[in-house]
Symmetry: C2
Subunit: 246 residues, 2 copies
């Protein structure tokens, strides 16, 4: 998969491809991440990318021309990409949107800065995506978030088993994790996890996932498709609570 990011802060964005599993995926050729400096698509000496807003008001607006030039350059070299603009007015990003974007051959993400981007740039945009209801100083972090979440669904980037264990994969939150030591400052690891009984471990983990999801994210719980382990876990949770209630 080929991902392009258009930004005025290429050195900020480039860390996304230098760490962890994404760096490995780039090295293994599973992902190509190109970072384009918007200033390279200006024609003036000072490489200006912003200007005053028509109609007045605070802040500056990103000029349209550098984007027009960028898209002319990109499409004439690599063909038409699927273009995403990160914006608070976009559709909400989630794991399902990430999975969908991961099927695209070429993705280009535009990072906004200042008060916003000249509206006419929307002509090139296929998809407006919001990563959440908060305002940021720029679109660079949202672009990096999208690259990160999408990359996990590109085959081979992370272990498949790992993806299936994720929160949200199955509309369930993750179970608690424990590693050595067995005791730290009086806090111990649940006995079942050191029992060596694989079936009991699986049941305990599912119970914890279901409990957490019911209490913290009932909206996800309502969407969840129940399998046999879920039902066994619910019976076991129910029995425990009946016993406590006695």
């Amino acid at each position: 998969m080929r991902i392009g990011i258009v930004t005025i802060f290429p050195d900020f964005v480039k860390v996304i491809k230098e760490y962890g599993v994404i760096a490995q995926a780039v090295e293994n050729g599973l992902l190509q991440i190109d970072i384009f400096n918007l200033r390279d698509f200006t024609t003036d000496k000072h490489k200006v990318v912003d200007d005053y807003p028509y109609g007045g008001g605070p802040g500056m607006v990103m000029k349209p021309e550098p984007f027009f030039r960028f898209f002319e350059f990109y499409t004439s070299n690599y063909g038409k990409p699927y273009v995403v603009l990160t914006s608070p007015q976009g559709r909400r990003f989630d794991n399902k949107v990430a999975m969908e974007l991961a099927t695209r051959e070429q993705l280009v993400i535009i990072c906004g800065r200042y008060e916003g981007i000249d509206e006419r740039v929307m002509k090139f945009v296929d998809d407006e995506i919001s990563i959440g209801d908060y305002v940021l100083t720029g679109g660079e972090l949202p672009a990096m978030i999208i690259v990160d979440a999408v990359s996990r669904f590109v085959p081979g980037v992370v272990e498949e088993e790992s993806v299936k264990n994720d929160s949200f994969y199955n509309d369930l939150l993750d179970y608690p994790h424990f590693t050595r030591p067995r005791e730290i400052n009086g806090l111990t690891v649940p006995e079942v996890l050191v029992s060596g009984n694989h079936e009991e471990v699986e049941l305990w983990r599912r119970k914890e996932s279901l409990k957490k999801t019911m209490l913290k994210r009932p909206d996800l719980f309502l969407k969840h498709q129940f399998d046999e382990l879920d039902k066994k876990a619910l019976i076991s949770l129910f029995k425990e609570l009946m016993k406590d209630a006695r």
Copy 2:
């Protein structure tokens, strides 16, 4: 405000304080951002921060000891901070949560990696926060998102007028922005914005905000408190549509 970030990738996270308005705020002493390398709180030669999960399963779990040592170090030097863990099971991050966190004197954000963090580290955590329903390869980007959104509410970091114009500030989405040139590839700037009539510009912008919010985010529209300009804008929108319908 003092913000600490605990990570195994300090060079990844440090870009957050090197660009844009956050860099300026750090330079002006409005913000102090300390990045702590979790490996500095290990005691073994190889600075190991992860280990196999009790109970088996894929991936590795972040060991508890380095976190226990970090918090001992931090509190004995700077006192008790407000500790945030970024996690998919947390409460949903939004602009209101950002405003609330901006009132804390000391914030420490823990970045998870691998399959998760040993559950006993939760002992130090005051607040679990989720930036959205997507899975990422690590907690570094969510931590950077939180720093960015929170910083905007630290007095002096961005112009106050700019914050008030933001999407979500008033439960309304932003209006479209335009800058020079007035025409590009046949696309022009709306006449009203070049009219010089300030009142008309304000009315047009509010109409665009209301329209966009009604169509794209009715949930925000329902929360919005109407002021006089909103009501004038609604009358004007209504009249326009009545005319079109005739």
